[in-house]
Every structure is written in structure tokens, then in C-alpha cells.
Symmetry: C2
Subunit: 386 residues, 2 copies
């Protein structure tokens, strides 16, 4: 297997982007990444998208997006595992370069979520859960994560203040991210007084609905050196799966797919969680960040909430989490999120994080944890400065 | 890159399968393939599916299908390029084994198309075309292929009899395939008297709407030898793309993405079309088989129709095409088709084709050509007896 590295990243505008279609958003991010990397071509591309079909009536993105990017003819593959689609795009690009089949591959993600009604978007997102056993009976994602939050609170004494701390921290970080959909700070009081969505989750516990795209250029170390741009190595990649429905889980208070995925990635990297300096994790809801921090082994079960509340995961803390602002503040165009996480780790490891959100302790190793649905699948990547 | 081979294949029931859900269909095919290969585990899986979201309201198949297969935890990735999704699943499994990341990978495809209304299915399929420039203006797939047929007839004098010959041949072959949705012979007169769908295409020029799944087990040559089962090597894999919309094509009478994909696959295999003994090609409409036979270089532009009418591509001909019955007779569960094509080539090369449809001339090399939409993307594989 060849070593693989990331040599450039790019974003489209994120938010409610009424004047751009799915093809515009993707093309903006892809061209930005190509420019950032300084490459003059790509051999192939992988596109993470959860549901072009339900959000904008467009499947078959591989053909359309290569064409609009001016790359007609190259191999292109859309990959999907709900909100983990972007992480899978990065993984497939990693595998293709590792195999020797291609030398320069783009991993991108895109979702155009605001072109359909709120009800339609809620249904589209719900297709990441079990249609026959959950969605048919009325389950939606805020409801599923609310159940997980209640279970976690009951088992470990996790508090409202801990949930709020996740949101406050991520908005603080996002206020420094030029791509963020909601780049402003909020207070715990604001979170707790915001409208209730599914008890105990208020709207400021929930990531938003977002239009957006992100892209990363992966290549070999030799090519990266020749390009003369900053690059980071991908030293570990892992995927894990679990039951799609909550009802069949052994335990509602942990994300087993993330535990499996991180263990696989650590094994490939020959590292442990103690070697990792910071992480981008999948905070689709505040409770998710707490559960993930435990599932990847950073904190003992039931101990992450306390640590977050104490500031351990803040930008200046021992283990910064979601320096980008996370899904909560940056936004969550579901297919793009996993790629955006990798892009943030790339920026942090190469000293390019904007507007004062650069981690000051000179980080060497970062990780991403991306997941689909209520944790039915998860993708983890570990990156190291070259 | 390691050598990769196929060591077993499996199918679910194909047709209007009212009593099976998408998870049942996939599990049936996957278990059949695992049994056929004699493996005791798989390291990961790739699932081709065009639109779980629009057909059955279920995305995130990776999580659900691993669980229902009894493989909870393993990495799983859904891939999609409309009707070429199955071919991409085979390709990704091939790349993952070639890279050394995994040793035994399942490539599967599934589509459950009859659980929604006819209008909804037509819309779901149309998302393989350009939503903003084609579908919004009323285009559907029979209409798009009818335009291609008219262009081909006008340019090359392709006749009604040639189109019918494709359908008659494929139904003849499909009558010997136990999985076929329509396993009966038809006559050219029946094709020409069947109801008109989009001039010049009658309903018996069109592949049907099908529920079904197919799976294949890919592994290394060493493991295949140890299993002691018949295996074939995948010696070439290629993907090509083109504009998603017909309006932007340089030429309506050829499938450029298939030309690119086949050239890439031949280059990897170090073979030419003259080395290939037979092919499974993407006859979603009769005109498609004619255009593809030309696009992959088997016949000069405008010459395939004549050759098919003369019987050159029949089971006993010089270059059998669609010995399985093709999409026309076997059925076309869109995400599964690319895997089913590979399964047929595996059966032919290992002497396992059922009911008298085994090619008698002892074929050594077979190829598959799978495509998405009106040819916006295409996947080609070349396989050789071990």
C-alpha cells in the first residue's frame, strides 16, 4: 500500500444558498480545492451525497458533477452512508491511491437541502433511519437523539449544562470560521431558552439544515512534495457499522460503530487515542458530541460531559474538539460534512486555520469521526503532519 | 496491486417480488453468493443501489444490509451511478482487494422498484437524467433512448428489424436463465405489434421494472485457490463519464462513456476487443445494445445492427452478447444489474451457465459493460479464466 496525503482543500459558500444549485455548490468547492492544491488535473473523484434523489430529484451525480467541473470523462463514483457519506468519499479516494490505480483523486461532498420544504427535508433525513421500523412509525432524528440523550442522562447523570456547553463551545469556534453558516457566539442561557424540539433537545442543541460542499485533493507523497504545497499524511482509515434502528442496539448510550471505526483506524495508524492532539467529531446534536468523545475512547463512559463543561475540549484545552465550529455552528450539509471535517484537520495541521482559531499548541496528529443516522455507520480518519 | 478474482456469485428471486423487502432481497442474494464461494466471512462490502430513497424511502443501506446479513460491524459502502451502480460496486471491491486493505469483499447490488406507483418509479428513474434541463421539461428514459434510436437510424440506416432482433435474441437466452423475470421466447412480430412507448421503441424494446439483487464474492488468488472453488480473474476495470444530458453530447449515436471505460479496461488488461470471446452489455433498450456493441469497438459505427440481425451475437454466434437474457428478459433492478452481468460472465467462464445457455466454444475471456442514465457514466470489466 502506498502512503497517501492531502494536499489541498476547498469549500463552497455554506448556508441557505438560494442562488446556487447542487452543481454550482460542488463546482465551487472542487475548483477551490484544485486551486489550493495546485494540481493541473485529477485522475478520478468520489462524491459523498446522502440523497440527491430526495432533496433535489437528482441521482447520478458522478456524471453531472464531473462534466460541470470541466472534467468530463474521468471516473467518478458517488458514495453514500447517510451523514457519513463525506467520510466514505475520503476513504475511497485513500484506497484508490493506496492501491496504485490513481495518483491524484478528489474526495468531495455536497448536499443541497433547502430546495425542498421542511417536511420533505425531515423525511429525506429520516431515510437514514430504519424506514420500516422507525420512520413508518413516526420517528425523526431529533426524536432518536433525544432518546439517546435521555438514556445517557439516566445512566450517567449527564446534565443540561453539559449539553449546552457543547453548543456554546462550537459556536465560539465557528465564530472564527469564514465558512460557518451561523458564525456567532451563543450562551448557555440562550441554548436553554431556545425552542424545544424533542425533549431534552432544544433547537440550539441541533445542527442546522445547510446547503454546501467541501472537497479535498488526495495524492501520493512524491507528488505532494513536487507540488510544494503543505500536506498531511492520512495514516489511519476505519469504518464501522451497527444496527440502523435504535431498537436493536445493545446500548443506547454509546456509538458502537464509532468505537469499531476508531479502533480500526488506530490499528492501521499504529497509534492510540493518547497520540491524538485534537478531533473533529460528528455533533449533529449536542448529545452526539458527548457520546462520540466517549465512543472513540478519549473519555470513559459518562465522563465526557464533565470534561467538556470544564473546558478541556475548548480551543485552548487539552483536547480541542470541533475547532471548525462543528456541525452545530458551521452547518451540516450532510454529504459534505465528512469532507469538511478532514479539511479542518488539514488546516489545523498545516497552520492554516483562519481568524484566530488555529490551535496554538502545535498539533501533530488530528482525527475525524463522521457518522450516519443514529450511529448505524461511522468513518474515522487519522492524519499526521508530514 | 494484487491480482483479484471472483470466487462465487448469488441471486435473489427477480421480478415483481411482492413478499420481499429490499433487505430480504439483498440478504437472499448475499447469502447465496457467500454459500457459492464457500467463504466463512467477508471483510467488507460494497452495495450498488440507484435510489433506495425514492423507491422505498430508505437510504443508509450500508448499515441496514450488513446487519440483516448477520455481519453487523463490518465496513460497508453504498455506491451509485444510476443504472451503473452495480458495476461500481464490483470495481470498488476490486480496488479494495488490489490495495491490500481487505482480502474478501462482497460486491452486491439491489433495487426494490415495485413498491411505489408507476409514476413514482418513472420519476425515480428519471433522476438518472439531468433534472434541471431534461426531467423538468418532461423527458423520461424511453423518450431519451427513442431520440438516440432515431438519430442512429437516420445516420446509419439502422432498421426496425435490427432492434427487434436484439429483443428476440435476449428473450431466447433468458428463457434458459432461472433468474429471469420474463423467461420466455418472443418473435419479431410480437415486438413490433407490442404497444408503442416512445417511437420507435415499443414496450418489447424496453427492459422491465424489476425487484432483485445479485452479489459476487471477490478475493485474492491465494484465497481462491485455498477455497477450492472455480474462480475467474478480473484483469481489467475501467470507468468513463460523459455529459448527463443528451443535449450536450457531441454525438447521439454513440456511448462515449463506454468507449472510454472499455479503453481503460483493455489497457489495464493488456488486451483488445478481439481477445474477448463474449460480453454482457447494458440493453436497457434494444437500441442501447446496438450502440454499445459499436462503442466498445466490437463493430464499426453503424454495423452492429446488421451483425445482430445475422445472428453473430447469438449464443452460437462468433461473439455472444447477453447470454443471460440481458436486461430485456432477465430484468433490470437498476442497482443490481452491473453485478448480475459480472455473475453471468463468471458462470460462463466456469462452465456453470444453466439450462443449456452455456457457450459451447469454451470461452476464455468475457467482458461486462454497464451504464448509467443515457450513457452519462459507464463501467467495464474484463474477466479471464484462471
Amino acid at each position: 500500500m502506498r502512503e497517501v496525503c492531502i494536499v489541498g482543500v476547498g469549500f463552497s459558500k455554506w448556508g441557505e444558498v438560494w442562488r446556487k444549485s447542487i452543481r454550482d455548490l460542488h463546482t465551487d468547492a472542487a475548483l477551490a480545492a484544485i486551486k489550493n492544491a495546485g494540481v493541473d488535473h485529477i485522475d478520478s473523484m468520489y462524491i459523498g451525497c446522502m440523497s440527491g434523489g430526495l432533496f433535489v430529484g437528482q441521482e447520478h451525480l458522478a456524471s453531472m458533477l464531473t462534466d460541470y467541473l470541466g472534467m468530463r470523462g474521468i471516473p467518478a463514483t458517488r458514495v453514500e452512508a447517510a451523514c457519513a457519506s463525506g467520510g466514505l468519499a475520503v476513504r475511497q479516494a485513500f484506497i484508490e491511491i493506496a492501491s496504485g490505480i490513481s495518483d491524484i483523486v478528489m474526495a468531495s461532498g455536497v448536499e443541497k437541502m433547502t430546495d425542498c420544504s421542511g417536511n420533505d427535508a425531515t423525511f429525506a433525513l429520516a431515510t437514514a433511519a430504519d424506514q420500516e421500523y422507525e420512520v413508518f412509525n413516526g420517528a425523526t432524528f431529533p426524536g432518536l437523539y433525544a432518546m439517546m440523550a435521555h438514556a445517557h442522562m439516566a445512566k450517567y447523570g449527564t446534565t443540561r449544562a453539559m449539553l449546552s456547553a457543547v453548543s456554546v463551545k462550537n459556536h465560539h469556534n465557528g465564530s472564527m470560521n469564514p465558512v460557518a453558516q451561523y458564525p456567532f457566539k451563543i450562551t448557555a442561557e440562550q441554548v436553554e431558552k431556545s425552542v424545544m424540539i424533542a425533549d431534552p433537545l432544544h433547537i440550539l442543541d441541533c445542527s442546522p439544515i445547510t446547503d454546501g460542499s467541501a472537497a479535498a485533493i488526495l495524492t501520493t507523497v512524491d507528488i505532494a512534495k513536487k507540488l510544494g504545497k503543505p500536506y498531511v499524511k492520512i495514516i489511519g482509515s476505519g469504518v464501522g457499522t451497527d444496527t440502523i434502528a435504535l431498537a436493536q442496539r445493545e446500548d443506547l448510550t454509546t456509538i458502537k460503530a464509532s468505537t469499531i471505526a476508531s479502533q480500526r483506524a488506530f490499528k492501521m495508524a499504529d497509534k492510540t487515542i493518547d497520540d491524538v492532539d485534537f478531533a473533529e467529531v460528528h455533533d449533529c446534536f449536542t448529545i452526539a458530541e458527548i457520546m462520540v468523545a466517549e465512543s472513540i475512547g478519549k473519555y470513559e463512559p459518562g465522563k465526557a460531559g464533565e470534561a467538556i463543561l470544564a473546558g478541556e475540549t475548548s480551543l485552548e484545552g487539552k483536547f480541542p474538539m470541533n475547532t471548525s465550529g462543528g456541525l452545530k455552528s458551521k452547518g451540516h450539509p450532510v454529504g459534505a460534512t465528512g469532507v469538511a471535517q478532514v479539511a479542518e484537520v488539514y488546516k489545523q495541521l498545516t497552520g492554516q486555520a483562519e481568524n484566530g482559531r488555529q490551535i496554538r499548541s502545535n498539533p501533530k496528529i488530528g482525527m475525524t469521526q463522521n457518522m450516519g443516522g443514529s450511529g448505524g455507520s461511522s468513518v474515522v480518519h487519522i492524519m499526521e503532519v508530514a
